[in-house]
Symmetry: C2
DNA sequence: GTAATATCATAATTTTTTTTATAAACAAGC
DNA sequence: GCTTGTTTATAAAAAAAATTATGATATTAC
C-alpha cells in the first residue's frame, strides 16, 4: 500500500480536465474559504464562490466523504431557519513546529484547524554547529513524534526555526549545520521521514505573532526579535517577506556606528554591536569593570557567566544599572527602527524575543528614539507594541509555516 | 445624456447575479489576461480560465461588440491551423501621466494598450508651494489635453507625480499645495473634469522603470531617485509598496551621520545631508571656497547659481573635482543602500533620477560601498543597474498608475 | 504536389448547472 | 399557540455549458 496523504488524494488534479478539473479547483476554493473563516454555511460559500446552492451542496458532500470537512451542526441564527455550518475536520492531519533557541528547544503539534494540540517547552539543548548537535536535534524531534497519540503518517510536515541566513525555498542553512552539500531540510527529512522545511527564527516569530497574537487588521508589520542578536521578521500584506533568497531582515548588520567593535558577522559598526543582548552583556561587564555596582554581582554571580536571563531578571527587580543599560540599548535600537519606519511606513512594530520581557524598560526608550530619529508624519502612523505571545510565537509560527507549505500550494 | 465610461458600462456588475454576474467576472478575467499577454487565442483563454472553447468564444464576441477587444487576425503558428488572436482595442480609452519636477513638467498620453501615444517633455514650470504654481500646473495639463486629437471623454484618468509625502489613497499631498482641507487630487479633478490621482515621484519612476524598462523577471526591486533630494520607490512582488499611509521610501531622512547639517526635514544627520544632489552642490561650493579648482568655475559661472545639471555635465567632461565629489556622495549613498540590501534582499537596485546620468562615476563608488557595508551573502544577490528610461520613467510610471487605478479595481 | 498530421472554429448533442418552486425550520409578533 | 416573515434545504424544471463531432485551415513529410 503506497503511502499517500489525504490532502494530495483529494486535491491532486494532474489527470483531471474539463468539469472534473473545475470541481477540483472549486473544492480547493471551498477549503481555502473554510480555512479562513473557521466555519461557513452553504449559502455563504455559494455567494463567495459564485456557484449555486445545489452545486455547493454537492461539492461539500464530496469533501465530507473524503474526510476533510464536516458538518458542525446548526449555529447561525439570522431570523429564519438555522443554517448548517461546515468546517475543517480538526484531526484530518497534523503539523510540527520546532523552535531552536541557543540553549533549548520548543516544539509543538498543530492540527488541521490551526489549533496547537501539544506543546513542549524548554527542552534542554545546546545549539552548536556540530554533527552531534544536529543529531541531538533530530532525536528530540523523533522523541516528540513518538510521544504523540497521533499516527506518524498523519503528520504531513515539520518546520524548524533557526537563526541566521536561511534559503527557505531549498531549505539550506548558511549559519548552522552546513557540513554537506545537501540542504539541511533534506538531511533531516530523510532521517525523520516527514517533509521538512527550514525557516529563519525571526520570520517565524513574526508570522506566529501576527496570526495568533493580538494583531488584527494590520497587514504591514515589523517584528523585532531582540535576543543575543537582533533579527527582523517583515510581514507585507500579511505575508512573510523573504526577499530574493530569503535573507531579508538582516537588520542587525546595518552599519550605523563608527565604533571599533567587531561584529560576529566580521564587519565593524553594525547595529548589533550597540543594540542587542550581546551588546547589553558587554556594556554591563564594562560598567562593572569601571566600578559600577549591581544587584546581580552582589548575588555572587561570576561576571563571566552572566546571561541575558540574569539581566532581564535584574531589571525586573529594579536594578538601576541594568535599567540604564536597557535604556541605552533601547535608544540605539530605536534609532535603527526609525530607519525602518521611514522606509516601510509600517502600521505596527512588535517587540519580541527574550529581551522584550523587560517591557517598558526597553519599549519607552525605543519609542522616544523613534520619535527623535524618524519623520513625525510617518512615525505617528506606527504603533509600538510588546509581543503578546512571548516564547510561544516561535512554535506557533513554525507550526503554521509547516502547515502553509503543504496547504498553500493547493 | 449622462457621461459614462465604456469600461464601467461593460464591467459594472452591481445589478447582476447568478449567471449574468459570473459572465461579468469572466469578462474581467479575459480582460486581465489579455492585458498581461498583449494577444491570445481562444484556446489559450479557454485553458487559462477553465472554461470551454464555445463559452470563451461567446464572451469574446460580446467584448468585441462592446468595443474593448478586437480580432488581431491570425498570427500564431504551431503546426496546425492558425488561431485567431484577440487583444485590447488600443484607442478604447486613454490615460494621462504628469511628472512634475522642480523646474519643468513632463506629460504623456497612454492608450488602452499601454502604448505612449504622445509625450511632451521639459515644459518650463517652477514647482513652488503657491496657488499660482498650482494654477499653472492645471493650465499646462488642460493645454495638453486640448492639443490631443483624442476626445476628452475618452481620457479616463490622470496621475500626477509629486515629490514628498503623499497619501495616495485620498490624493492628499503634505509637501505641496496643501492650502485647503480638500485633497489636492480632488481640487485638480474638479478643475479639469477628469478623475485624478496623486503619486510620489520616486514610486512612479520605480513603477515605470520596472514595467517599461529592462526589468524582466525581477519582482523585488528598489529604485533610487537621485536628484536634489533622494527618494526610494520600492516594488515588492512587482507591485508598488506604499506602507500604511503611502509614506514608504523616506530613505533620505534616515539618520546615518553625526554631522550638524540641518536637513530640510528639520532633523540632523539625515542621509540626504551627505548623499544627494543638494549635498553635492554644498560640497562643491565648500571645496571651491577652500581653493579647489573646477572647469565649471573657469567657465565664469556664478558659484551661487550652480545647478545639478552643471555638475553632471562637468563630470561627463572629466572634471576631476566633480568626479571626486560624486565618488564621495556615491560612497555615502552606497552605505545607505547597503542597509536596504540587508533588510530587503532585493534582486535589483536601479539608480535613477537626474544624478544617475553620471553613470559609472556614481555607480561604481555605490557598488563598492555596498560590498563594504552589507553582508556579502546578501549583496551578492543584488544587481545594481542604471536606469534605462531616464527621464521617461516618471511619465510612463504616472500613465500606468492612472491606468491601473481605473482598471485594477475591476 | 499530395497525403498525413495537427490545430482551430463551429454545429450538434449531451451533460452539468442554475433557476425556480416547494417544503421545512426557526424567530418574532399578536 | 398560531400566524407571518425569513432563511435554509431539497426537488423539479429550465437554462447554460461542456463534450463530441465535423469541416476548415495550415504545416510538414515524402
Amino acid at each position: 500500500m503506497p503511502k499517500t496523504h489525504i490532502i494530495k488524494d483529494v486535491f491532486n488534479d494532474d489527470n483531471a480536465s474539463g468539469v472534473a478539473l473545475k470541481n477540483k479547483v472549486l473544492k480547493k476554493l471551498i477549503f481555502k474559504y473554510l480555512d479562513q473563516t473557521d466555519a461557513s454555511s452553504i449559502t455563504d460559500l455559494s455567494k463567495e464562490l459564485l456557484i449555486s446552492v445545489p452545486k455547493t451542496t454537492s461539492l461539500i458532500n464530496e469533501l465530507i466523504v473524503e474526510g476533510l470537512i464536516k458538518d458542525y451542526g446548526k449555529i447561525d441564527s439570522t431570523g429564519g431557519r438555522k443554517a448548517n455550518m461546515y468546517g475543517l475536520v480538526s484531526d484530518a492531519c497534523f503539523f510540527i513546529g520546532v523552535d531552536v533557541k541557543k540553549y533549548y528547544i520548543n516544539i509543538g503539534l498543530l492540527n488541521f484547524k490551526k489549533q496547537l494540540v501539544t506543546q513542549k517547552n524548554r527542552i534542554p539543548y545546546k545549539l552548536e554547529n556540530t554533527q552531534e548537535s544536529l543529531n541531538q536535534l533530530i532525536q528530540i524531534i523523533q522523541g516528540f513524534i513518538k510521544e504523540q497519540s497521533v499516527k506518524k503518517d498523519k503528520i504531513l510536515s515539520i518546520a524548524i526555526n533557526l537563526s541566521g541566513r536561511i534559503k527557505n525555498t531549498i531549505g539550506y542553512s548558511f549559519s548552522f549545520f552546513h557540513f554537506q552539500e545537501e540542504p539541511l531540510s533534506v538531511i533531516i527529512q530523510n532521517e525523520i521521514g516527514i517533509k521538512t522545511f527550514l525557516e529563519n527564527d525571526s520570520r517565524a516569530m513574526a508570522f506566529g505573532e501576527c496570526n495568533f497574537g493580538e494583531v488584527n487588521s494590520e497587514r504591514n508589520v515589523i517584528f523585532v526579535n531582540i535576543d543575543y542578536g537582533i533579527g527582523l521578521g517583515i510581514l507585507i500584506n500579511n505575508e512573510i517577506y523573504y526577499g530574493k533568497s530569503g535573507f531579508s531582515g538582516e537588520f542587525g548588520h546595518i552599519r550605523f556606528f563608527d565604533n571599533e567593535i567587531i561584529c560576529h558577522c566580521g564587519k565593524k559598526g553594525c547595529l548589533e554591536t550597540e543594540a542587542s543582548g550581546n551588546a547589553l552583556i558587554r556594556k554591563f561587564k564594562e560598567k562593572i569593570g569601571q566600578g559600577s555596582t549591581s544587584n546581580i554581582i552582589k548575588k555572587n554571580k561570576m561576571l563571566d557567566n552572566i546571561t541575558l536571563t540574569d539581566i532581564i531578571q535584574a531589571a525586573k527587580d529594579e536594578d538601576v544599572l541594568c535599567i540604564e543599560l536597557l535604556a541605552e540599548v533601547g535608544e540605539k535600537l530605536g534609532m535603527g527602527l526609525a530607519a525602518m519606519i521611514n522606509v516601510f511606513n509600517p502600521e505596527l512594530i512588535i517587540l519580541g524575543g527574550t529581551l522584550s520581557e523587560t517591557g517598558d524598560f526597553l519599549r519607552l526608550p525605543i519609542r522616544s528614539a523613534i520619535n527623535k530619529y524618524s519623520l513625525s508624519l510617518v512615525n505617528s502612523d506606527t504603533e509600538l507594541r510588546l509581543s503578546k505571545l512571548g516564547e510561544k510565537a516561535g512554535i506557533l509560527g513554525a507550526c503554521l509555516i509547516a502547515r502553509n507549505k503543504i496547504l498553500s500550494v493547493l
